[in-house]
Symmetry: C2
């Protein structure tokens, strides 16, 4: 096989395959070996021996070279050269194993079709939730199920930050800085904290879950930068926790896909997943809910997923990329967020004056929104016409359009000092 | 295919395959259909139509009939007719899918060999933890890992009883009666509450994890009948929970396999799995720990696992039963419990008289056992020479042989009113 990309994951895969030849040949029914590699910097020390491997400077050249029967793409990036190299390998009928979520989120349907036209397949276990075998679980183990919902904590950086904010009462900015110091967050963390990374993974989970074409652009995105320690504390008092959750759900109007900070009751398994771990839960009509928890990143954990795909392919496994033939994938039909039905957490900063709360309650009532609980905090700072106090509302299930209308009316009434902060609630 | 056994699971499989023909043919790449069945009572209404299926009274006759290309065994029982029927199908080169943990725990190695000699395989996802795809995860998704430990909550009945005891403060006997009323426990619950059912599953997990022959008889068994609400409360106060856990672990002296009530710190994912759910965690050297939670029983959930195996086989998948060729399975080498190293919870009933506790502490010190915490409860009932008070000790990691010696000495000293109650502690 040929491996393109020798970063942390690529080097771990080379190391794992080299360390465990005997172990892997028993499980593959044949020898499994790297014969060629490709990376940008030939001279760099990666902590693994590349002796005897043929070196390529161009991944496309590696993908079409005669010496390989499997192409492992670990370069990343949704454009070329990854896209060109993967397409090249598939066109030659060579199976591809990749950890590249960006590429598949953007072009999953097209590449699945290309693989099948050429009688081959793409393994992408490592692209979603690192070491957790959620792709195999959905594609194979849940084959008898109609999936209603898949949801997960898909980004360890965000989960680490939220966990630390909760544990230590530190601000988002402080926890982000800590995560950067510890190497859990990038120097430019935008991609993680705004939810793009989670959304790439969610797009793939949606296709697996519902048999639809991948549609990354339709995912509703909200990052975690707006979450305050006050939100986390209020959630805890009410028996909830807040996580950055990717959720894809079958609804009457289409598939809803969103990556947003989400409140979950503490009795949900996912609510208790802390730190850099990832977790995914899938609801199937036969099996009920299956939850998987494990490391979502890291060289060895991701290499474990890459190697599982390699062993499957060595065994001759050639499944349709998303579980059903690409031609059978239905066009993704988006459910609009304003049709989202569920409970809401609403944090308001209400001016401390007579009638303010009554006016708010009136606006909620006008939209038929009923409240499960109301927590009013003591006003901080100076009293007076411009002082405001925190009010936290939890609603019963309602339609998002109603919530938006009510909050707009409340803003227009001039009873609140800041824009309302809204967090959706996900229930079992 | 032919299905032998039309109880809850068998009927659910027939129903699922009938309801989802189109869904399954997309995932299997071919049509998947039941053609023949076998059960004891032909006249019974099972809520599914058996029209057009050929009926057999004898499962062995079904297994060798010419009309089937796959034999699904859902009768259960470690002896005949299940054993004879499975062997017959394998000898004819027909793949077998089974939920029969008792049969595989007793004869797994032998049947794996028979399958391979005849160029076929056995799917047994449904035999371990019901709907949780732990067999596929260990056999395929973790192929690149050397497994160090696998442990799980493998019996929903026991987990339900322990959860209810904790929640309601009710006795073991009351919760068992409740579980029986709700249909979660059998009229004769021995098999579940003494740990045999968990042990069957653990034997199979051990073979998958460590590449060793199945050895049910070597499993150290302790049931949950000795657990009191007092133990559960003391555990909670110390930051632990008690679950009936099956644990298999690689040690220097062999593989330790045990099914025992076990204390776990609350931050372990498994410690938070309540009610009838099952859960399994696996520690791999590459991936770290993967935890899976889901329904461990029930017709539809188990049928989901059976159907996943059927789809795999329809796709032409033919893996060695335990992940590596049966001839490569190493003979199981048992690690003795007295060599077990870990922490211990010890509940003592100490006579309420001067020097009693000092004598106990002295016996512990003689065996180099150091204590992490000591909780002494107020004595209940009348004071006097024969009144006793509860003392709960938590030890640091120590060798079980030392614990046994110290407790024997404490008993011999006559300082305690009852036999000590010991619960092992499992850590991350």
């Amino acid at each position: 096989m040929g491996i393109a990309g020798l970063g942390t994951v690529g080097a771990s895969v080379v190391r794992l395959l080299g360390d465990k030849t005997d172990h892997l040949s028993k499980r593959s029914g044949r020898d499994v070996a790297v014969t060629a590699v490709c990376a940008r910097d030939r001279g760099r020390d990666r902590g693994v021996s590349l002796d005897g491997l043929s070196w390529h400077d161009d991944p496309v050249a590696l993908a079409e070279s005669d010496g390989i029967d499997l192409f492992v793409e670990l370069m990343g990036g949704e454009g070329d050269p990854a896209a060109a190299a993967v397409s090249t390998a598939l066109r030659r009928g060579r199976p591809v194993v990749t950890a590249n979520k960006a590429l598949l989120a953007a072009r999953g349907t097209e590449l699945a079709r290309l693989a099948e036209e050429n009688g081959t397949t793409i393994g992408f276990e490592a692209a979603v939730a690192g070491g957790i075998p959620i792709v195999k679980t959905m594609r194979e183990a849940m084959a008898g199920n109609r999936v209603e919902r898949v949801y997960g904590i898909l980004n360890g950086t965000c989960n680490y930050i939220l966990t630390r904010m909760e544990e230590e009462g530190l601000s988002f900015a402080d926890c982000l800085a800590e995560a950067q110091r510890l190497g859990y967050a990038e120097a430019d963390p935008t991609f993680d904290i705004e939810g793009h990374d989670s959304a790439h993974k969610l797009a793939l989970l949606s296709s697996l879950a519902f048999g639809v074409t991948t549609d990354f652009d339709s995912i509703h995105l909200e990052g975690i930068a707006s979450i305050t320690t006050e939100d986390l504390k209020a959630a805890a008092e009410l028996g909830y926790r807040i996580k950055l959750l990717g959720v894809a759900r079958r609804t009457d109007t289409g598939i809803e896909q969103r990556v947003t900070p989400t409140m979950m009751p503490r009795n949900l398994a996912l609510a208790n997943v802390d730190g850099v771990l990832n977790a995914v839960a899938v609801d199937g009509d036969e099996v009920g809910e299956i939850t998987m928890v494990g490391p979502g990143a890291g060289g060895s954990a991701t290499a474990s997923a890459v190697v599982a795909d390699i062993v499957d392919i060595a065994r001759g496994r050639c499944l349709p990329v998303f579980g059903i033939p690409a031609a059978e994938l239905e066009p993704y039909r988006r459910a609009r967020m304003r049709k989202h039905a569920g409970g809401y957490y609403i944090r308001l900063s209400v001016y401390d004056r007579p009638g303010a709360f009554a006016a708010i309650a009136q606006r909620m009532a006008e939209e038929q929104i009923s409240l499960e609980s109301i927590v009013q905090k003591e006003a901080k700072g100076a009293k007076g016409a411009q002082s405001a106090r925190r009010v936290v509302l939890i609603t019963h299930d309602t339609m998002e359009a109603q919530i938006r209308k009510a909050l707009q009316a409340i803003e227009d009434d001039g009873q609140i000092a800041e824009r309302p902060h809204v967090i959706r609630i996900e229930k079992p």
